[in-house]
């Protein structure tokens, strides 16, 4: 598809919509807008528009559609697959100025926000009202619009589900400029196709989200994490299916190996409370009071000991949670800092297959002579495996990455898994989605895209 270049005349028309101070053109745009945090692709937009209302977005989209200008929406730019990179140049809409929390509805247990509200701001706001927004991706400075666009998951997915499960309603602007209200505050909805759910996870390719109504839960007052040291990563991972089978309901089951913890220690300059074991499982339980939470975790703690845990450490106060979860939250950055360059595989497999899958990655690392550290959400089957360049030349690294990705996704497919658990496809994982999806499925996605965006101007070159 060919697009028009943003001309001075286009710029002036777009500037008139958002105002001079919200329009950056050419060299006024910071190079930061050329990339996200990992996607491996860079391109500057021609024009950056800082939007502040649905109406502005609607007018911009109508103009861009008429003039065939490509448009990419960007929140905080914390994506990992290049989804918010302007591959074709053109217009970039930055939503971080749309950062107002519009309404807390305590009767319907919903909060209505603009897309630029940061995840950490949202959590803090609802918690101060005794409420709880469960999705908990590691990157707290991501915008809620970005979270919805990737259907972000996070650590609590094992008990509470993912972003999609908490989006009740969306206001969206179609690529042609029309404004739609999808869903609402209703709990049940069987009224035709759920377009809201098609847009969630569509990575900014179908519509621009300008407002979201999110479902909240009462805040569980008490949560306790258990840190279980094991003699090996295999032993830690082998415990996971047994924990799931035991019908205990942890909010999170994470796994981590000592080498990743040591990288986080180095990165943060802070010591983890225990690094004597080669691997750890980290489980969290929440509930209405301490005695119920203690009751809930006791069975799982005993089970872990039976399955070979050396001990179970209790992470039960704010200070202890900070010492453990700060490190967990820094794993991605720590691994990044440990290698000159890296790429990532955010694969998801059925959780019963996690242990086998990780064993496969260890064998693959040996075979390719390449460091493949990993950590992840053992409880929901979503792994983050990092392909580290270390001392390799660029060409060797690229070749090994290609081989590694092919093998990792093929093995995931064999296990009944999928290409991405929570980071999305964007630009970086397109070929793997194509390789591991039925042609009919991809063709249907293409027709959905065309139905929303007949001129293909919205986030071109992404997902499919």
């Amino acid at each position: 598809m060919s697009f028009s270049v943003v001309t001075r005349e286009n710029m002036e028309a777009l500037r008139a919509i958002v105002g001079q101070e919200n329009c950056l053109w050419g060299e006024e745009i910071s190079p930061d807008y050329a990339h996200d945090e990992l996607g491996g692709v860079e391109r500057m937009p021609d024009i950056l528009l800082r939007v502040h209302s649905t109406e502005e977005v609607s007018r911009i989209m109508a103009y861009a559609d008429t003039h065939r200008l490509p448009v990419v929406v960007r929140g905080s730019g914390t994506g990992l697959v290049g989804a918010a990179v302007a591959l074709e140049g053109g217009v970039m809409l930055e939503t971080t100025g749309m950062n107002r929390i519009l309404e807390l509805d305590e009767e319907n247990l919903t909060v209505t926000v603009q897309p630029g509200v940061l995840l950490m701001e949202l959590s803090e706001f609802v918690q101060s009202h005794g409420l709880f927004y469960p999705p908990d991706p590691g990157e707290k400075s991501a915008t809620i619009g970005g979270n919805i666009s990737t259907n972000a998951g996070g650590m609590r997915a094992v008990k509470y589900g993912v972003t999609r499960d908490y989006v009740r309603g969306l206001t969206v602007v179609l690529p042609t400029g029309e404004v739609l209200e999808l869903g609402g505050k209703v709990v049940k909805n069987s009224s035709g196709y759920s377009l809201k759910d098609v847009i969630i996870g569509s990575e900014g390719t179908l519509a621009v989200i300008t407002q979201a109504t999110l479902r909240l839960l009462p805040l569980p007052p008490v949560s306790v994490s258990l840190l279980a040291p094991f003699d090996s990563l295999d032993a830690a991972l082998d415990a996971v299916p047994a924990i799931v089978r035991s019908k205990a309901a942890p909010t999170a089951i994470e796994y981590m190996s000592r080498d990743v913890i040591l990288m986080a220690e180095e990165y943060l300059g802070k010591k983890f409370p225990d690094t004597t074991a080669p691997a750890y499982a980290l489980l969290t339980f929440d509930g209405p009071d301490l005695s119920q939470v203690e009751q809930a975790y006791a069975g799982t703690a005993d089970l872990c000991l039976e399955l070979g845990a050396r001990d179970i450490y209790l992470v039960d106060t704010d200070e202890r949670k900070k010492s453990v979860w700060d490190a967990r939250g820094a794993f991605l950055e720590a691994i990044k800092a440990s290698s000159v360059e890296m790429d990532e595989c955010d694969v998801v497999v059925p959780r019963s297959r996690i242990a086998d899958y990780i064993k496969f990655t260890h064998a693959l690392a040996k075979e390719l002579d390449m460091r493949l550290p990993s950590f992840g959400h053992a409880g929901d089957g979503n792994l983050h495996i990092y392909l580290c360049r270390d001392g390799m030349g660029r060409e060797t690294f690229e070749e090994k990455c290609r081989l590694a990705f092919e093998r990792l996704y093929a093995e995931a497919a064999r296990c009944g898994g999928r290409v991405s658990g929570e980071h999305g496809i964007g630009w970086a994982k397109k070929e793997y989605l194509a390789a591991h999806s039925a042609p009919e499925e991809l063709a249907l996605m293409g027709r959905i895209k065309a139905a929303f965006d007949p001129n293909g101007i919205l986030n071109p070159g992404k997902v499919i």
């Binding site: 000991l305 001990d311 450490y313």
Partner: protein, 262 residues
Amino acid sequence: MEILVCVKQVPGTTEVEVDPVTGVLKRDGVASKMNPYDLYAVELGLRLAEATGGRLRALSMGPPQAKAVLLETAAMGAESGVLVSDRRLGGADVLATGYTLSQAVRTLGKVDLILCGKQTTDGDTAQVGAEMAEFLGLPHANNVQSVEPDGEGYVKVRIDLDSHISVQRLPLPCVLCIDSEVNTPRLPSYRRKKSLPPDCVKTISLDDFGDREPAHYGLTGSPTQVERIFPPEKNSEKEMLHGSGEDMAKELAAILRCRKLI
């Protein structure tokens, strides 16, 4: 080495509200926890006990439910705990608390080293450790960052005095108040917690002390009388003093005098 660590149970959150009518802290429904500053002293104590083949015991003063922090200390690795709990000790200020603890220490047999946190998150006075040491007639140091026993009856301690670090050699027994963030405290062990013997925490009262005169303890033994507790007005104005500690102290004293506060 026989090591004793003093710990305190404090509200589980720093956002305890004060009832504006009665001036009493609203403790209902507020969970309790070990004073976070004490965790560093516990960790240091455990490491010293391990290094010297000694043992760590813990001491606390409070209502019966404060036993929980001693059990927690035991789950972290302490051998046992002693809770001083007696209604006659209630309402103690820092001085009476220091005296009470000094009396309790005297019931515990041989103690080479007493460790405390630098302060508590509820009282924030940072005085009890030093006062207890004075009542015991022992040398003491605050803001201690590291402790190295020399095996000859002395410890080399590193003390943060804000303007400089002082390294001193103190004779044992002594009292050391441990600075925060000097280590990463270990987590309590579920395995240890489950296997603690039922008598690992002992409760003692005024009747066990050498000085059994009730007037020396609790509210009557406290020169500080609390008239009222109220949330402070929020005030973002501040004045910064600069210069050496001595210069700033002189300047501060002058300001306080000038405003007739002293």
